[in-house]
Structure formats: C-alpha cells, structure tokens
C-alpha cells in the first residue's frame, strides 16, 4: 500500500473538497471533513511510526515511479530516521490545529491548513530533489493565503515579506539542483550524497542551499520575515509555520550530506551565526511586550541551538539538535495555543497590560507555567534533552563555544520567567482580566496532550532518538567522508 502517497494526497484532496464544500450547510460538512481527515492522517502516520524499522538507516516505505523521464525526474518517496519524527510531529500538530478550530472558522482556512499539512508530508518524504523542491515551494502558497486572508492587521506587509524572502532563498536552491543534475544526470538526492565535488563547487552549492534553508529555519540575518509572519498569522497557520522544521530538515537532508567538505570549511562561520542567533534573539525576546512576538523570537533563538548542533560535527550535538527540533515544535505550538486562548478572550496579548491571569484562569496559568518550564529547558521536559546535548557537544568542541551556547540557560530563563511574571502572577491590574473565563474542556485537552508529550519525551527521550539514531549515525559517518 502506498502509505506515504496516501499521507500526502489525502489532506490535499480533502483540502480541496473542504474548499468546495465551505458554503454548503453553513460550513458544517467542511469542518467535519477537515476533522475527519486530520484524524485519518494522524492514524496513518501512527501506523507509519509503528511499522518503522528503527534499527535500519535505509529508506523505508519507498515508492518509485518515473515522472518526467526526459530529465530523469521521479516521483520517489521514502522516509528514514531523519524524516520519520517530523512525519509524526506534522500529524500531531495538524490534528491539534484542526481540532482547535472553533465552529465559526472558515472552510477556506481549514483547506489551507490541510493542504499545507499534505505538502509538508511530501517535503519530508520526497527522495527526488525536484519533488522535494516542488513540495517545499508549494507550501508557500496555502500559507501565504492563510496569513494574507485570515491574518492580523499587518498581514499584507508580513505576507509579502514572508513570500519574497522564502522565494528568494529557494531560487538559489533551484539553481543548485540544476547544477547537480548537470553533473550527475539524476535528481536522486541519495545519488548526490556520493557525488564527488570540488571544494570550490561545494562552497558555491553550500551558499545556494544555505540561502534556502537559512531563510526557512530561520537563521540570523535572514530571519526578518519570521517574527512578523508568526505574529500576523492566525494561530493555526502560525503553529504550522513554526512547528514545521522543514528548513532545518533541509540542512540534514541536502546541505550536510551533499557538500560535507564545504560544511567543514565553513563550520566556524556557521557556529558563529548560530551562537549569534542564540544570544541575540534571546536578548531581543527579553525586550518584547507582545506575547506572540516573544514566542517567535524564543523559537528562533532555539533554532540557533539546532543549527549549532548541526555544525559541531559531533554525534551528541547532532542528536541533541534533532531532539531539540521536535521539542521546539511542541513548545512553540503549545505557547501559541496559550497566546491564542488569551487573545480570543482579551483581544490582545500585551504583556504589560494584563497581569495576574492566574486569578481568573488557573488552568491556563498552570499549563502556561509548565510550557514555560519546557521552553526554559527544565529537566524532565522535552526542552531539556536537546538543549543539554547540544551544550555538551559544544563544550566538547571548544570551551568558548560551549560557554556561549550555555548562556541560553540564563537568557532563556530570563525572558521566559519575566513573561510568566508579567502575565501570570501578580494582582489583577486590568479590569478585563478579572472577567476572563478559564480554558474550556477542548482547550484543556489540547494543551494537556502537548504537555503530556513534552513530559513523556522529557522523561524518556530514547523513544524519539531510537527511531532517528541509525540515520543520524549514518549521516555523521557520511559527513566525515571527504568528497573531494
């Protein structure tokens, strides 16, 4: 059974159907269909995760068909340990995002989310570079519409920036793909892993891939689109955008294995950029007064640790980076949900205006404090695992790098706790706070699922790493081989 194709096309086709059904019967069938699809995709993904052979680093669930024979472009799918975690994460996030939609949400918005989700599955399971590129780029369109139509007041500016940045970055990648095809006469990414390339060429290709993935991750200084897009996007789209770690995944899938020598040469620069991101975004987060913007910067700061883990060429750090990607997806989703719960009630989430929500919303306060702890990286939560391993790896690489990376321990705690203090604790200062109603059953359930996942992965991260381990080890071994 072509499971991966099912996983990709089911949400996309259902999304189109939702779009067509949105005016029927007040949109009820479309919402029902969206929910059913999200559940079905979730179960298919769960099936994939259960049947996944953790011990093997090989591609699994492979599907191959010739697509454009003239250029040797194939419709080729498959997942390995690097992608399987993100397949699962995408399924979970999609389900939560769709399930969180209220009864008044528009069918077209749900359709955009579903189509994005399907394309995300595609990007994570593509083995052919052109296929990957198409999924990678196509994700832009539904996201663009979701933000541009349903977003906040500054949505026009935010979407333009988001679209241009991402498109601009990926164009370089397209050129790199064409070049690699020219050299190898194939678009198979795995074949490219073994393609000998001169250092000079590798450096150029590195630049091209870097532009695409550093924009998407995002890394400093190509991040300017991200905070605006996260803030202006409606919650569901913001979560899909921030929790889909496709940019960082691109580093693992394309950049590191295809141009390992260039990566070695440029590693010090990448490490510097990553450290800069960790510290700079941490400080910027400290100065934020808007909850969503703070979450956005916090996420970007953590992505700095992820890219740091990529370029230390160290097993512990790389494993930590992958675990941190998963954890960050969960934490960001949870925090955005919390921000949404506040925003729908207060119409705003300015930190300085609304204090003491614990008095009115004890459930939200409890969960928010828990998520804050996961964001800080408290042991026992998923946030700790990746952060700890990346710092261990960084200290082993160079003490100075380790010291700078470890500042996240202090800075991350500073902006997160200060946010908690301003928002959660203290007496009620704003009259609208005392009128707040606590989380409803559905919201509690959603957030509890995320909290349980964070706690579970924090107490037993081996579940996650076990699945990815073989592929990460293979990637490391591959990165150590010179292609010159």
């Amino acid at each position: 059974m072509p499971v991966l194709s099912l996983l990709i096309w089911l949400p996309i086709i259902a999304g189109v159907a939702v779009l067509l059904l949105q005016r029927v019967d007040g949109g009820r069938p479309s919402r029902w269909l969206a929910n059913a699809t999200a559940w079905l995709a979730f179960f298919i993904a769960a099936y994939v995760l259960c049947r996944f052979q953790s011990a093997s680093a090989a591609m699994q669930f492979s599907e191959r068909a010739m697509w454009i024979p003239y250029f040797g472009i194939e419709y080729s799918l498959g997942i390995d340990g690097l992608s399987v975690l993100f397949i699962g994460m995408n399924a979970l996030i999609t389900l939560l995002v769709i399930a969180a939609q209220k009864a008044d949400s528009k069918g077209s918005y749900l359709a955009a989310l579903l189509i994005t989700s399907g394309l995300t599955y595609g990007a994570f399971s593509a083995r052919d570079a052109v296929l990957f590129y198409i999924f990678f780029e196509a994700m832009l369109i539904p996201m663009y519409l979701a933000i541009g139509v349903f977003g906040g007041p500054q949505r026009k500016y935010a979407t333009t920036k988001f679209f241009l940045y991402t498109l601009f970055g990926s164009l370089f990648m397209l050129l790199a793909l064409f070049y690699l095809y020219g050299v190898s006469q194939t678009f198979s990414m795995q074949a490219w892993h073994h393609l000998p390339l001169s250092l000079y060429m590798q450096l150029i290709l590195f630049g091209a891939f870097f532009m695409a993935f550093a924009v998407k991750t995002p890394m400093w200084p190509l991040h300017a689109w991200a905070p605006d897009a996260y803030v202006e996007a409606p919650t569901g789209a913001a979560i899909m955008l921030a929790s889909t770690k496709i940019g960082a995944y691109g580093f693992l899938r394309l950049l590191l294995p295809i141009v390992p020598d260039a990566a070695q040469v440029l590693a010090p620069w990448m490490i510097a950029l990553s450290l800069l991101a960790v510290i700079y975004f941490g400080f910027v987060a400290l100065a934020q007064t808007d909850l969503k913007r703070l979450i956005a910067y916090s996420s970007v700061a953590h992505m700095g640790l992820v890219t740091l883990g990529f370029f230390l060429f160290n097993a512990v750090a790389l494993k930590g980076a992958v675990l941190l990607m998963v954890s960050n997806a969960l934490v960001v989703a949870a925090l955005f949900f919390c921000a949404d719960a506040l925003k729908t009630r207060m119409g705003d989430c300015r930190l300085n205006d609304c204090g003491g929500i614990v008095n009115a919303m004890p459930w939200l306060a409890t969960l928010l404090v828990f998520f804050a702890m996961a964001n800080i990286g408290l042991p026992g939560t998923s946030g700790f695992v990746g952060e700890f391993l990346v710092i261990l790896g960084a200290v082993g690489y160079q003490l100075g790098v380790g010291l700078l990376a470890a500042t996240v321990v202090v800075v991350g705690a500073a902006y997160t706790l200060w946010m908690v203090r301003r928002l959660v604790f203290g007496p009620v200062t704003h009259p609208s706070v005392s009128a707040l109603t606590d989380l409803g059953m559905r919201e509690r359930l959603l957030l509890s699922v995320l909290a349980a996942a964070m706690l579970g992965f924090g107490l037993w991260p081996q579940v996650l790493l076990g699945m990815a381990d073989a592929s990460i080890t293979q990637l490391l071994a591959h990165m150590a081989l010179s292609k010159l």
């Binding site: 400290l286 026992g380 380790g402 470890a406 321990v409 705690a413 200060w418 081996q462």
Partner: protein
C-alpha cells in the same frame, strides 16, 4: 523498594495537586504526610542497612538502574540510584526534616486557600531532592537539581498576588540559573573528557583527567580538572547561595515559613555542598578549585554574619545565618574535609530548621508580625517555642555539647590545617565568624523572647497583606499564645536532634570510617582531615579541649555582647549604629550587591535588549535588509526603466552598437 522512596512523595504531590481542591482539605495533608513518612522509614532502613548490614558483607555501595533515559551509542544515560553512606545519610536528613515540616505545615498554613497546592509543592520538592541525593549520575542529579529549583521558585512565589514574592521567586530561579550555567559547563567538560556522566565511571577514571588541558580560547590553556571543578562549584554557589550569587536567599523569605525551613535552610541550599562532597574524587585533583572554594566560603561566612547583625526581620536574621553557615560548609569542602562539611550540613539541617520553625511559631502567634523590634518578652507566653529556639541557638553558636559544636569546631580546625592557598584567611574569618554568629543569634533570641513585650504597639498598617489578615484583626488584642501541637511537636523533635546529633554521631561520621569509599580525600596532598584524625582523643577530651581554643570564648563573648546591647543598654546599640553610620549604611544595603545587580546587571541587560531591538531588529534587519533591499530594487527598476524608452530608433541604435561589439569580439578570436 528504593524507587518508592522518591516516588511516594511524587504520587502524593500529584494527588494533592490534581485532586486537592476536590477532596476535603484533610486528605491533602494526610496523603502527603503519610507518603513522606513512609519515605523516611524506608530511608532509615536504607541507612540501617548501610551502617549495620553492609560492613559484614563487605558492600560499599549499591547501584540500581531503573531505565535507560537516552542511549547515545558511546554511552548510555540512565536513571538510577546510588546508595552509599553519603546518600543514605542525606536521604534520612531530607525525609526527616521534610516530614516534620509537613506536619508543621498543617498548623502553619491552616487558613490558607492554597493549602492543597502548598502540600503538592513541598511533596514535589521532597521527590526532587531525593532524586538529587540518590542519583548515580550527573543527568539525574541535574534533574533533581532543577526540580528543587522549580519547587523553590513556585514556593517563594506561593502568594502570587504579592509582587515582591513573585519577584523574589524569579530572582531565585535566575540566580540559580547563573549557577547552572557553570554547572552545565562543568558537566560538559567532564563528559567531553571521559564520555560518561555516571559517577562510578567518572571516579574510576579520574586519573585520566590529570594532565589534560583545555583551551579557554585558542592559545590560553588551563587544566581541565580545574576548569571543570570551578564550573561545578559555580553551580554549587548558585544553589548553596555563596557570595556573590547569594542575594536570592534573603529575598526567598517572601515564601511561607515552612519552606524557608525546609528548602532555604535544611535541604535544598545544601545541595551544592552535597554535590561537591559527592564529587570529592574529582575536586581532590585541583588545588586551584579547592582554594577558590575556601576563599569564597570564608568570604560568605564572614560577610553574611556581619549582615545578620543588622537585620530586623526575624526570618532574615535566620536567613543570613544560613548563608553564613553555608559558607562554613564550603570552607570545609575547600579544606578537603568533606565529611566535616556533610556533618555540619546534617546538624545545621536540624538546628536551622528548628530556628526557622520556631520563628514561624512566633510569627503566627503575633499574627504575621516579623519585625524583631515589635516582639519581646515572649518566653513566658510561648515556653516550648522559647526553649526549643534557645536550644537551636546554642547549637548554632556551637556551645558544647550541642550538635553545632561538634560540627563547627572541626571545620575551623580543618581550615587551620589545610594547606591550600587562602586557608589562613579562612581560619581567621571563621573564628571571627563564631563571635558574630553568637551576636546575631542571641540578639534575635533576646529581642524576641526577653525584655519587655513590644507587640502591643503594632499598628494595623504593618500587617503584611496576607490571607490571615482578617483573623489577625479579630484576635488582635489577645495575648500571643503557644502554638498547637502540630507546630510544637516538630520543634521538640528537632530540638532533640539538635542536642544529640552531634555527640552521638561525631565519633563514627567524622572520625570513624562511616563514609568509607563514598568520600575520597587525598590525605597526603590535603592533610587537614588527617591531622584532625591524629589529634582526636575521644569525645570527653574534645569537649575539654574546647575550653582551650578561642571559638568557645568568642562565642560566649558574642552572647555577652548581644545581651549588653539588647537587654542591658539598648540605647548603646543606637549610639553605636549612629557612631558607625557609614559602616552600618553599607551593612544595611547588603554591601550594595543587590543595588549593583539591580542597577548594573538588570538594567544593563534591559538596555542591551532594547538596543538589540532598535539597532539589530528595526535598523539593521528591517531597515537595511528589508527596506533597503526593497529600495535598491525599486531604484534599480527606476533606472532600468529609462532604457525602455519605447522609441524605435533607440532600440535600433542599441542593436547596431551591440552587433558591432559582438563582431569585434568575434573577429579578434
């Protein structure tokens, strides 16, 4: 069964946390007290095994692995327990004090709306603390380490509507995180060198670390052991509140008194001391780190004792005393007298918890009045509290034969005989510290319990905004009375411990072979403990010997001084403060360390943050990169537009010109 010791409090915490508000109040305390009580019994059994059963069998330690947390290929990070004399002792101390504090809480918090929440937090704290002390690896220790930090954060900010409380909680967490920064780097260095986080493996291979160097920066090499040890110790400085990371501890007094006793005196703050003692084989390898510790410890001991003299809040006096005593323990660590540090940790846990709980008893009797100047004459009203507090004070000051004497005297001696740099400074600081300890302790005792009652003068405005506020009004003009049995029984138990813990255990723990291989000192390079061993002639002669050494006389002089300035001539104290105005100003402002953090560090961080936003985000990213690119493209398009004029002859001219250029180039080849 070992797993039950930490897990029972965890289950109790979950029960009180999730169901506490739905079941009758009593259930929360019954479940939590029972869980911690059983933990105590099991811990006591573990200690019994360690002391009485193992020596016959020749067992040194027991390692139990629960599960593999993460398999990194090169090493497995596991969750498991290491039971040896060191952890068994800590488990008993932690569960005993915790149990007594649980019982005490029933009385202290009885009117608080957050009753179940409070029990949930302290039971969770007990769980984390047990995970910390029972750990057999750094990972789990760090889990417990941060878990107790979280509990401390939540409990300091327990009365969350008070801005000062939530601020103090955040401050505690952040300052601990500064320590954790060092701790995590230290762990990282050991991991980088040895590839494992397991204590047993690290100790077995510690010799491999000697001679290894680490470059702080390319070109600047330093001994890896020293850097790692200092990193770990920075973690201990955060948790055990050593100068200059100490300022969170006095502020933590914003929390309810039971947790000041449990967390901020008896157990959590000693985690740093425990960690260094646990890592004794590693610390022995670095004289520089030992020296660093002894200097930091001595500075903490003396400076915090000085600040204790000028506090008027009864809890803050005890808090500064805790800081000072933690300094004593740190000096012991620096002098390689690890067993002395742990012994003082144990006796201190008893008498300091006692003093805090006694202070709490006074505070509730006076309806949440904490100002010493508004107390006085309470000894007749609260005889049990008075006598137990007095016992605690004697123990703290170190009068023989109370427990503090047996634990503090060896530390001072160890500082004297240590050979690391800075030990002389430490010896004099600690000796002078004894005098100061006696001064501030008995100043507190005399002001609170002796003299004329001053509590009638309390004005309504001085009440803290507390839930018991209404109750306070109702009973305001009644005389203070002794606290109920749930409060006094823990006091009595702790008082008994404070009296006898020293005399009973000094022989085996300090001068016997209790710790065995759990604490490993290099007695050739760091001979302090060896000298003490050689001089030990039994308890009686140790007691008699005390009359020949300065600390006892200094302690008595301190008590006399306190007596003179508080009871005989209170006005003289005023004249003295007036005469030494500048010095007292410095003390009153805590050496301006808080002000420095507030004005320089916090504000500096905020200005840096806003500068990053303005310079980095708005100007550079948004202004230059986004808008600048947009303008560049716009300008480029504008310029290029002039090329598309729409006139045919322009295009024709361009074509001819281009053709000419091409032909020229082509023709040259």
């Amino acid at each position: 069964m070992l797993a039950l010791i930490p897990l029972l409090p965890l289950f109790a915490a979950l029960f009180a946390g999730f169901f506490g508000r739905r079941v009758p109040r009593g259930w929360s305390h019954w479940v939590c007290c029972a869980a911690v009580g059983i933990s105590f019994v099991l811990s006591a059994y573990a200690l019994y095994k360690v002391v009485f059963l193992w020596p016959a069998l020749g067992i040194q330690a027991e390692v139990v692995t629960l599960y593999t947390w993460l398999d990194l290929g090169s090493t497995k990070l596991t969750i498991g327990f290491l039971i040896d004399p060191l952890s068994a002792l800590m488990m008993v101390v932690v569960t005993l004090v915790s149990f007594l504090v649980h019982v005490y809480t029933i009385g202290y918090m009885k009117d608080d709306p957050g009753y179940a929440r409070f029990f949930s937090y302290i039971a969770f704290f007990t769980f984390s603390m047990l995970m910390l002390v029972m750990s057999d690896n750094f990972l789990q220790m760090f889990f417990g380490w941060e878990g107790v930090g979280l509990a401390s954060y939540l409990l300091i900010g327990f009365w969350y509507t008070r801005p000062s409380a939530t601020k103090a909680g955040m401050k505690a967490f952040l300052m601990n995180r500064v320590g954790d920064f060092g701790f995590i780097v230290g762990i990282g260095l050991l991991f980088a060198a040895l590839g494992t986080l397991n204590f047993g493996e690290i100790f077995a291979r510690v010799d491999e670390l000697k001679g290894l160097e680490v470059s702080l920066w390319p070109g600047l090499e330093w001994s890896l052991l020293t850097v790692a040890c200092i990193g770990l110790f920075v973690g201990a400085m955060g948790k055990s509140a050593q100068v200059p990371l100490h300022t969170w501890l006095p502020d933590s007094m914003e929390g309810p008194t039971p947790i000041s006793a449990l967390i901020h005196a008896a157990t959590m703050v000693t985690a740093g001391i425990f960690m260094v003692a646990r890592m004794s084989p590693v610390f022995e390898g670095s004289d520089a780190a030992l020296s660093f510790m002894i200097i930091i410890g001595a500075t903490t001991a003396i400076s915090m004792a000085l600040l204790g003299l000028v506090q008027n809040d009864i809890k803050r006096v005890v808090a500064y005393s805790t800081l000072s005593q933690l300094g004593y323990m740190t000096v012991a660590l620096g002098a390689s007298a690890y067993s002395a540090a742990i012994f003082h940790l144990m006796t201190h846990a008893f008498f300091k918890a006692l003093l805090f709980l006694a202070a709490g008893s006074v505070i509730i009797a006076l309806h949440h009045e904490q100002d010493l100047r508004k107390m006085g004459g309470l000894r007749h009203r609260m005889p049990i509290t008075y006598w137990t507090a007095l016992i605690g004070a004697w123990a703290l000051v170190g009068l023989p034969p109370f427990s503090g004497f047996f634990s503090k005297e060896p530390i001072i001696e160890a500082a004297r005989f240590a050979e690391v740099a800075g030990h002389t400074y430490a010896y004099w600081a600690l000796t002078l510290g004894v005098f100061l300890t006696a001064c501030y302790t008995f100043r507190m005792i005399f002001l609170a319990f002796h003299g004329e009652p001053r509590y009638g003068e309390t004005s309504h405005g001085s009440h803290k905004s507390h839930k018991a506020h209404k109750a306070a009004h109702k009973e305001h003009h009644e005389q203070p009375k002794e606290s109920p049995w749930v409060v006094t029984v823990p006091l009595i138990v702790l008082a008994v411990c404070s009296v006898f813990a020293g005399i009973l255990f000094v022989q085996p723990v300090l001068f016997g072979d209790y710790f065995g291989a759990a604490i490993r000192g290099d007695y050739v390079a760091h001979p302090a403990m060896a000298v003490l061993h050689a001089e030990w002639r039994g308890i009686i002669s140790y007691l008699l010997h005390a009359f020949l050494t300065p600390p006892l006389w200094l302690a008595l002089a301190g008590i006399a001084t306190a007596w003179y300035f508080t009871l005989v001539a209170p006005k003289a104290a005023g004249r003295l403060t007036h005469g030494l105005g500048a010095v007292f100003g410095v003390f009153k402002n805590h050496f301006y360390i808080d002000a420095f953090y507030e004005r320089v560090m916090v504000r500096g961080t905020h200005s840096a943050a806003s500068w990053f936003v303005r310079g980095g985000e708005r100007f550079w990213s948004e202004g230059v990169l986004v808008q600048g690119t947009a303008r560049l493209v716009h300008w480029g398009a504008q310029s290029l537009r002039y090329l598309q004029t729409g006139y045919l002859y322009h295009y024709a001219f361009a074509m001819v010109l281009g053709l000419l250029v091409l032909i020229t180039l082509w023709g040259r080849n």
